[in-house]
């Protein structure tokens, strides 16, 4: 009988062997793959006698959301609280960015640029476009700033709080290199801190500068990777953010060290209640909106985020899957790359058979942005409808009426993190009975 070690299992052994052979850490795309307490560990309490449910299709359950009305003269009005997370042109092909814009616009939500600037494909197809302001400032351009519908100052990402962007040479093609002012083919290492400010006192001044440049028209988001969430959210709000984007450790990345993805940051479920508490203590909950991302996959995740106090969610990995990432019909091609449909995470390598995480023109041509956009729109509609199903069952005429008291937890870990009772009890771990 062969017995595998729980400590030195085959994956661990392969990691050690790979490190010994190459002398460099493993770099991959995607988010944390380990199991962590997640929204699956929560359940809704549907209405019956003590609460009254709403009829599906007949009785209203609204889903619209306003983001950024604290200071901006033109806040975003979205039809659904499912937004598209920041992903760069460079990490993704131009056609993939176009497809994201098409899909998001069709359902009245926003999409977001990434570490590499704004492309015409994306701006042209996006009704609401959030323009990221990152430490690297690749392609950062005041004209694009003025063309954007909102500005997102990125401090960090859930996959790698404390780390900068990375894009390997295979994807630094002529166009990507031109947009980022880099030599073609370099392994790009972005800065982890902004070049001209550090800390909340300086961020406050930076936010004012961006408002001055854009004449106080556009909402200013601040995106943080989930780690010391309670403090970071408080400081972002104090520094003047209109919207806080909170990205948990399951959130994806185009390329980062595997050790960073799996071992730094905290789960989305653990971070969200900390963020809400921080905003409530500042008297800013629902005034500074909270957008949550990192492993959001369906309408149940959406409804649970809303119930725990989020104003909207952002999807990244799920959106790429909706476009066609990891599609079963590509299994044979994934296997040629040493992976398989359902497992592919070598987004850094630029050889994506689905034509999404690539800059290879032949591969990129495989993605039809119209079809991809339609698929994304379908997916967001389904997510939204699923959340409405849950909200109506809980007697809510708006997704925003969902609250923590509508939830119970299946595990002690989830109960402690979400700060809701273990199902069938009134026990919230860590809180007095």
């Amino acid at each position: 009988m062969l017995r595998e070690s729980a400590t030195f299992d085959r994956a661990t052994i392969a990691d050690i062997q790979r490190a010994a052979e190459t002398g460099i850490y493993d770099i991959r795309g995607g988010g944390a793959k380990r199991r962590v307490p997640h929204f699956d560990d929560l359940l809704f309490l549907g209405a019956s006698m003590s609460r009254y449910p709403l009829e599906g299709y007949r009785e209203r359950c609204d889903t619209d959301v306003v983001l950024g009305d604290r200071n901006a003269s033109y806040p975003l009005h979205l039809s659904t609280p499912v937004t598209i997370a920041g992903m760069s042109f460079g990490a993704l092909s131009g056609r993939a960015k176009e497809a994201l814009g098409r899909g998001a616009s069709e359902v009245g939500t926003s999409t977001t640029t990434g570490d590499g600037g704004m492309t015409p494909e994306e701006r042209g197809q996006s009704k609401h476009l959030v323009y990221q302001y990152l430490p690297s400032r690749y392609g950062m351009n005041p004209d694009h700033l003025r063309m954007a519908d909102a500005i997102e100052i990125v401090l960090g990402q859930g996959a790698k709080p404390g780390g900068g962007g990375m894009l390997l040479g295979q994807k630094i093609t002529e166009r990507v290199a031109g947009m980022r002012t880099l030599p073609m083919g370099v392994d790009q290492r972005s800065a982890c801190r902004h070049p001209d400010w550090t800390g909340p006192d300086d961020l406050e001044i930076k936010i004012r500068e961006l408002r001055e440049i854009t004449d106080w028209e556009k909402p200013v988001y601040v995106k943080i990777g989930a780690s010391r969430t309670y403090y970071d959210v408080k400081l972002a709000a104090k520094a003047g953010a209109d919207v806080i984007v909170l990205d948990g450790m399951q959130g994806g990345t185009a390329a980062t060290q595997d050790v960073f993805i799996e071992h730094v940051g905290i789960p989305t479920l653990a971070a969200l209640p900390q963020a809400v508490q921080a905003l409530q203590e500042e008297g800013l909950h629902r005034h500074v909106q909270l957008v949550v991302s990192g492993g959001i996959r369906n309408g149940a995740d959406l409804a649970k985020c809303m119930a725990l106090g989020a104003d909207a969610v952002a999807i990244g990995t799920a959106a790429l899957i909706a476009l066609g990432d990891n599609a079963p019909h590509l299994d044979e091609e994934y296997r040629k790359l040493g992976s398989a449909a359902g497992f592919y995470d070598d987004w850094q390598a630029g050889r994506d058979p689905a034509g999404i995480t690539t800059q290879d023109p032949e591969l990129a041509d495989r993605l039809d942005p119209v079809v991809g956009g339609r698929r994304l729109a379908n997916f967001i509609r389904v997510m939204t409808m699923e959340a409405q199903v849950i909200a109506r069952a809980c007697g809510k005429a708006h997704l925003h009426s969902l609250e923590p008291e509508d939830l119970v937890a299946l595990s002690i870990e989830a109960a402690a993190m979400a700060r809701v009772p273990l199902a069938g009890t009134s026990w919230i771990p860590g809180q007095p009975l």
């Binding site: 190459t22 002398g23 460099i24 200071n71 901006a72 003269s73 690297s136 400032r137 950062m140 351009n141 005041p142 004209d143 700033l145 003025r146 390997l168 040479g169 980022r180 002012t181 880099l182 030599p183 083919g185 370099v186 392994d187 290492r189 800065a191 070049p195 001209d196 400010w197 300086d202 001044i205 930076k206 004012r208 500068e209 408002r211 001055e212 440049i213 854009t214 004449d215 106080w216 028209e217």
Partner: protein, 244 residues
């Protein structure tokens, strides 16, 4: 806060040439809103700002061929993201002067604080005094000419453009440099990772002479040394692991 509640109090001593905005009376929001007016270059091409008193974000986001003279010290991000305009600070500038500038000219008559010209894509930044740490960090095409010294980590991750230092450079000059070129007349305390001294050829002397002339500096190009990227860190390699 966003709305312009009161009209800008603009004094026009000679209305055909120059508008004067006194920041002890008007606020920065009013000044910037006026400078952002679509027809500003045609109607009022010359501006003078008095009593800046270290306020932040003065004359940011300009996108017109106007000239702005600021009489005194400015705070963070003066002339940030400048396009086309000519901004002159008759005093010292705080953090991030001319950050992410695209074009035009920004001149600081005194000293500049850290991160001067950070990530700037184009145009000319002149600091007649000294610039502090991280001058030209992540520069993406701007030309920066400093009359005095620059602090540590200047031109860190510099991608493109030219940095000219007439005085001395601090520690770790040009660390992780891409394709920006650096000229220093004085001493260099230390070079950063992947930054090396390079041969000063005729074309470099010519471009340096041009930059010094554009900045109004009288230094002799022959007294400068050139530094650039060794390009050893462009792709991950196990032998460079200690530099990552």
């Amino acid at each position: 806060m966003a709305a312009l509640s009161t009209p800008l109090d603009v004094h026009e001593p000679n209305s055909t040439t120059e508008a004067v905005v006194d920041l002890s009376v008007s606020d920065v929001r009013q000044l910037n809103a006026a400078l952002h007016a679509p027809d500003v270059a045609e109607k009022v091409p010359s501006w003078r700002v008095t009593h800046p008193d270290g306020r932040h974000s003065i004359a940011v986001g300009l996108d017109a061929e106007v000239s702005v003279e600021i009489d005194g010290h400015v705070g963070y991000y003066c002339a940030g993201m400048n396009k086309s305009a000519t901004v002159t600070v008759h005093g010292n500038a705080g953090v991030g002067v001319a950050e992410n500038m695209m074009s035009g000219t920004v001149r600081v008559r005194g000293n500049a604080s850290q991160s001067a010209g950070a990530t700037a894509h184009g145009g000319l930044l002149v600091v007649e005094g000294s610039a502090a740490a991280r001058c030209g960090i992540s520069m993406k095409g701007v030309d920066i000419v400093v009359g005095g010294d620059v602090g540590h980590m200047s031109a860190f991750m510099g991608q493109a453009g030219r940095l000219v230092v007439c005085g001395d450079a601090g520690d770790a000059l040009g660390d992780s440099l891409y394709e920006a070129r650096i000229y220093v007349q004085g001493s260099v305390k230390s070079l950063g990772a992947d930054c090396i001294e390079k041969e000063m050829r005729a074309e470099h002397l010519a471009e340096l002479a041009e930059l010094l002339a554009a900045a109004g500096m009288s230094a002799d190009p022959a007294g400068f040394r050139r530094y650039g990227s060794a390009r050893q860190l462009y792709n991950f390699h196990v032998d460079n692991a200690s530099a990552y």
